[in-house]
Symmetry: C2
Subunit: 431 residues, 2 copies
Amino acid sequence: MYAELNIAELHGALEDPALKSMNFLNEVANHYPDAISLAAGRPCEDFFDLEDLHRYLRTFCRYLSEELGYSDELVRRTVFQYGRTKGIIHHLIATNLQMDEGIAVDPESVVVTVGCQEAMFLVLRALRADERDVLLAVSPTYVGLTGAARLADLPVRPVATGTGGIDLDDLVGTIRRERAAGRRPRACYVMPDFANPSGLSMDVPTRRRLLEVARAENILLLEDNPYGLFHGDSDRMCTLKAMDEWRRVVYLGSFAKTALPGARIGFVVADQRVAGTDGLFADQLSKIKSMLTVNTSALAQAVVGGKLLEHHGSLAKANVREREVYARNMRRLLDGLAGRFPNPANGGSPKVTWTGPAGGFFVVVTVPFVVNDELLERSARDYGVLWTPMHHFYDDPGPVRALRLSCSAVSPERIDTALDRLAELINDQLD
Amino acid sequence: MYAELNIAELHGALEDPALKSMNFLNEVANHYPDAISLAAGRPCEDFFDLEDLHRYLRTFCRYLSEELGYSDELVRRTVFQYGRTKGIIHHLIATNLQMDEGIAVDPESVVVTVGCQEAMFLVLRALRADERDVLLAVSPTYVGLTGAARLADLPVRPVATGTGGIDLDDLVGTIRRERAAGRRPRACYVMPDFANPSGLSMDVPTRRRLLEVARAENILLLEDNPYGLFHGDSDRMCTLKAMDEWRRVVYLGSFAKTALPGARIGFVVADQRVAGTDGLFADQLSKIKSMLTVNTSALAQAVVGGKLLEHHGSLAKANVREREVYARNMRRLLDGLAGRFPNPANGGSPKVTWTGPAGGFFVVVTVPFVVNDELLERSARDYGVLWTPMHHFYDDPGPVRALRLSCSAVSPERIDTALDRLAELINDQLD
C-alpha cells in the first residue's frame, strides 16, 4: 500500500491558524495576480540591478584579500566552503549597528542567520526549556513570530498595545499572572519602530520604562527592527538595544528590507552571559543553528557584506532612495485615505479611521464591519485589490474590524487606483 | 542587574552530547590549525573558481528569460525578492534526479532547503506530533541527524548496521518493541551509499527487503544521499527512492558535495499524500519552512541552478574531476593503511582493522584501545593529525574503539604524512 500520512499525526503547528494564515494569504495573492496588492510587505523593486550582485561579491572578496590579508586560496575557501556557524560578516554587522543605530556590540555576540525568521526561531527554541515557559508579545503580533513560537512549542501571551506602543501595566500584570500560575515568562517580543502590522512606534519614555520593567521583572526583550531606517520625514528614535545598559535586549536584525530579501540574511545580537557556560547566549544560539542550517550561505553573506562595504557600513546611506520612495508612498496612502474618507469635521463619516504612522510600510484601517478572509477573497475577485485582514495578527479567533495596508512595493498611481477600489468595497459594505 | 541566563533553563538539546560533539570537534580543529585533518568531511577544494559563481548566476538568469520567457523585471524579482517557499529550482532538481539517480518525481514534491540539515529538521519536526513519536536510525549515525532530532524533541532509537548496511531483523524487532511500549516509530533514517560515518553501502537485496519492511511495518524511510555520486571505480547502486513503488521513501538531497557548501542548498522529496489535506507531505514541510527560514536564498538557488543548467542537469557529469580525486584519495588512504598495518598473513598485527568502502569519503579504523576525545586532543597536539572519534556517532555513551578517517579535502602527499603520524600514535598506544 502507498504510504499515507495523516495531518492529525503530524506536528500540531501544521493545523495552527498562524501557519495557515501565511499560506492562505499567499494563495489569494497567487489566485488573483491582476489584483493590486496593498497586502505584501515586500521591499520596493525599483532599484534592483543584477549587476549589483556581481559587484557586491567582488567587493567582498577584495575586502577579504586587501583588508584582511587573505590568500586567494583562503578567499575561495571562505566563499565556497562550509564556514563559521555564527557567520562571516559579523564584524561588518557590528560596524553597521554602530553607524546606523548607535549600538555598540562585540562581533562575537552576533549570529548571522537565514533571515530574521531563523533568528526568531533560534531564540525561541533556546528559551523553551519545558512546558512552563511562555513568551509575551505585543498584540497584534507579526505572524512570523507566532509561527516560530508554535514550531518551538512555546505559547504566546498577548500584551496590549496601549497608546505608547506597549501597555506596560498590562505587561507587568501578564508577567505576574503567568508566574502565579506556575509559568515562566521568558521574554517579550516587541517591534518598537513602525511595527508590523500596527505601524505604531513606541515613544522614548515608553522605551525607557520598558527597559526598566524588563530589569525589574527579570525578562528579556526581543527587539525586532526591520523598518527603523525607513523613518520618513521624522527623526529616528533610539533603539532599545542602544539604550540597553543591562543586557536585557536580544536584538533581531534583517537585511531583507535594507539589502535584498533574495539573500535571506538576518542576524541576532545576543550578548547575555549564560551561567553554566563560559560564553554568551549567542554561542548557545550558534549550537542550535549548527543543527538547523549548519551555517548561513557564505555566498549570500558575501553579497550583503559587499553592499555594506560599498556604503562604509551604513545602510541608512545605502537606502536614501528607498527611504524617499517609502515616505512618498506613505504620504500618498494617507492623503488618499483622507480624500476618500473625509473626517467628520469636513462632513465625512467617523466610521472609517486609520493609523498615521510617521514611517515604515503599514497603515491599519478600522471599519465598522467584520473583516474576514471571505471579504478579502471577494475584494480580490470583485474589486481587484488585496490587503491583509487584521485578524491574522491576533491569536484570539474573535471578529476583528480592521485591515492592514502596505505601501512598500507599489507605485503612487497604483496606490490611488487601489484606494479607489478599496473605497468602493468599504462603501458597498457600509450601505 | 545584568540579564544572565542559565544553561539549565534553556532547551535541553543544548546540554546534549550530539550538539556538544560538533562544537568540540570544531574547537580542536581550530586550536591546532597546523595538524593535518583527516577529520573534516568537506568537499575537495581544488576546483573552486570565483568566476564560476558569476557565470552560474548569469546562466540561471538567461534560462529564466530565454527558456521560461520571464521579462527582465521578473528575472530581477525572482533573484532579489522573497519567493516561493518550496523554492525556485524544483524543476531543475527533478531533472537532475531523473538523470543522475533514475528517480522520477513531481517537481511539486520537492522542497528546496537551507542545506540537507534544514531538510532533516523539517521532516523530523513534522513527524513529531507528541511524546509517543520516535525515530529509528542505523547506528552509528550522522551526528547532524541526531542533533536535528534533539531540536525536534524526537528520541532516536538505534538499529544495528549488520553486514548489509542495516540489520533488518533488528529493525523489525525495534519497531515492534517500540509499538509494544506504546510508542510510534515514524521513520528510519538511512544512508544507503557510503554512509557517514561507516563508509558502508547497502547491497541491492538489502535495499529491496528494507523497502518491503517499511511497507509491511508502515514506516517511512528517510534516505540521505550526499555521497552516492562518488562511487569510485565501482558501479552505482540504485537509490531506495528509485525503487520506491509505494512512496515509503522521503529523499534527502544535498548540493554541498556536488556543487558548493557555500550556497547551503539542499532539498527534500516528499511525495506522500497527507490525509486531511489535499496536498503532499512536501506541502506540510513547506508550511514549517515558512516559519523557520521563509524561503531558501534565491541568489544561492540561482547559483546552484546555473551549475545544473551548464551540465544539462547532470551533477555526475559536473563532478567527473572530483570523483577521480575522491577515488584516488580513497585508494591512497586504503593502500596507506595496508602498508602501515600489514595483515596477519603477511606477519602484521590483527589488532588494527578498517573498512574498505568502494567510494565516498570515509574509512573507519578499529583499534584495540578506547578512542576518546582526550586521545584526539593528544593526537592533534603531539602528533599533528586530526580524525574523528567514533563515539561521537553513537548515542550510547559507552567506550568505542574506533576512529573515522576522511580523505575528501586533503592531498595524497598529506594523506601519507597524516597516516605516518596516525601510525605513530596507534603504535605508541599499542606499546
